[in-house]
Amino acid sequence: MSSMLTSATTEPAWLRRTLIAIALLFLALFLFVPLAAVFFEALKKGLGVYVAAITDPDALSAIKLTLIAAAIAVPMNLVFGVAAAWAIAKFEFRGRDLLLTLIDLPFSVSPVIAGLIFVLVFGLQGWLGGWLRNHDLKVIFALPGIVLATVFITFPFVARELIPLMQAQGTEQEEAARVLGAGGWQIFRRITLPNIKWALLYGVILCNARAMGEFGAVSVVSGHIRGQTNTMPLHIEILYNEYQFAAAFAVASLLAGLALLTLALKYVVERRTAATHQKART
């Protein structure tokens, strides 16, 4: 009986194989082959060209700027993500759904527009443009603008990773700690943080990958000054437009490696959270 039901609730073997083949072919054309192509094109002209492209002074300065921008933007969004998740997941308040929508807003704004709005505020013609010039401060076409655009683009990642998890975990443990006399910081460090550490780590890594890879928004505010305001993705564009394909792909392969690392970490985090859920259930 059960075997009859199984055969009635699944597809014949030929159809199963066809569907698997279609799925894999589609993913190959749009995912696997492009990913492989990045590394293949990067190493096509040999290891020497690869190393030279990455250790070129302009490339090194682009890598440095990317690291600096991410090192400022990611901690900012980390603090925001934890604060927003604490308020939204642990308390019931009016306007919570509206706040959630506002946090998602940067997801639906084109990166180009994200760059444009900061030009409108901080650019020479912008709201604060005159004041900034009088005080000899530069935001657009400089590091602060790049950081702001990056913060906007990667704004929701940590919060979005934490909110559903912290909502599912509820507030009983924290409340018990409170009743037993623990202070706010103690509750967060000893109860909440251990519960969310894996999701927090993944949120930070994903936020970091997006921060380092952001192209459209940064392209608008950077000014493309070689050796000064070029990030890695912008450096890739310049190399590519100059037909230095192997060099462009060499720098691109660093970011592709970061993307793969991010996916590997996501895999680990998902297994860890599934394991803790199972432990909690039994």
Binding site: A8, T9, T10, L19, A23, L24, F26, L27, L29, L31, F32, V33, P34, L35, A37, V38, A83, A87, F93, R94, T101, L102, I103, L105, S108, V109, S110, P111, V112, I113, L116, I117, V121, Q125, G126, L148, F152, T171, E175, V179, G184, I187, F188, L206, A209, G213, F215, G216, S219, M232, P233, E237, Y240, F249, A252, A256, A259, L263, K266, Y267
Partner: protein, 277 residues
């Protein structure tokens, strides 16, 4: 104290509400709301005819057609193949399934510029894939479609996956016992159950594609009136220091994005009510 008294629906013994929400609101206002309002306020300085001619010029209209058309086509392809990919990942066992499952998220993590140059190289006339195709892909509107398909790929799979995993097997067994063929069960039982999630995934992929810039500009060729997307028009205007013109078009795109955001919120509420949560 002020925030908690004004907003809290239920008293909580937990500390930190005022600090956490206060900081959150300040941060959202400074990083998102104030800059976004700058775009809208800027267009209010324009006269209506000036605004209208800026957002309806022939090059701009051609770019809307391409951006919306290619985004729609890419989202349709992602809905169809995303369903197949998701079905295969959830229901079948095959070697490398976990690996494939993990890699589906690649477009979320891979920088758009990297995706752009990789796709351009592959789909150009002498590229690994392009050389086998009888038509040109790179540097045509078809290239825009390829890049947008890549960008939107994870949305349908990831929205559909939890719904397909939670689908109770009993319903399918009941349909089979009542004499339905497998195809009938799929069309009449499974498809209606997963339709809200499928539509949500489609809408997410479409919304993401509308604003995409980095992966498209390398492969599109960027010919005016032919393969120029709207975000590129905004960049071009900015490079010519036409800030008002750029902002006017940006506001049109923002309104379209916000409409999509509302539609997606409604679809997600529908999905949750279907799942009975």
């Amino acid at each position: 104290m002020l925030l908690s008294r004004a907003l809290l629906k239920r008293h909580s013994v937990l500390p930190g509400f005022d600090l956490a929400l206060g900081f959150t609101l300040l941060y959202v206002a400074l990083i998102v709301l104030v800059p976004l309002s700058a775009a809208f306020l800027k267009t209010f300085t324009m006269s209506w005819p000036a605004f209208w001619s800026a957002v309806t010029g022939p090059r701009v209209m051609a770019s809307y057609r391409l951006t919306f058309g290619a985004s729609f086509a890419a989202a349709v392809v992602n809905a169809v193949f995303g369903l197949v990919v998701c079905w295969v990942l959830v229901r079948y066992e095959f070697p490398g399934r976990r690996f494939v499952d993990a890699l589906v998220d690649l477009p979320f993590a891979l920088p758009t510029a990297v995706a752009g140059i990789a796709l351009t190289a592959l789909y150009s006339n002498n590229g690994w894939i392009g050389q086998w195709l009888p038509f040109k892909v790179s540097f045509t509107p078809l290239g825009v479609f390829v890049a947008l398909t890549f960008i939107g790929l994870p949305f349908v799979v990831r929205t559909l996956q939890p719904v397909l995993e939670d689908l109770p097997g009993e319903v399918e067994e009941a349909a089979a016992m009542l004499g339905a063929s497998r195809a009938q069960t799929f069309v009449r039982v499974i498809l209606p159950a997963i339709a809200p999630a499928l539509l949500t995934g489609f809408a997410l992929a479409f919304a993401r594609a509308l604003g995409e810039y980095g992966s498209v500009i390398f492969i599109a060729g960027n010919l005016p009136l032919v393969s120029e997307i709207t975000p590129l028009i905004i960049i071009t205007k900015l490079e010519q220091y036409d800030y008002t013109g750029a902002t006017a078009i940006a506001v049109v795109m923002l309104v379209a994005s916000f409409a999509m955001l509302l539609a997606i919120n409604a679809l997600q509420a529908w999905t949750r009510s279907r799942q009975g949560r």
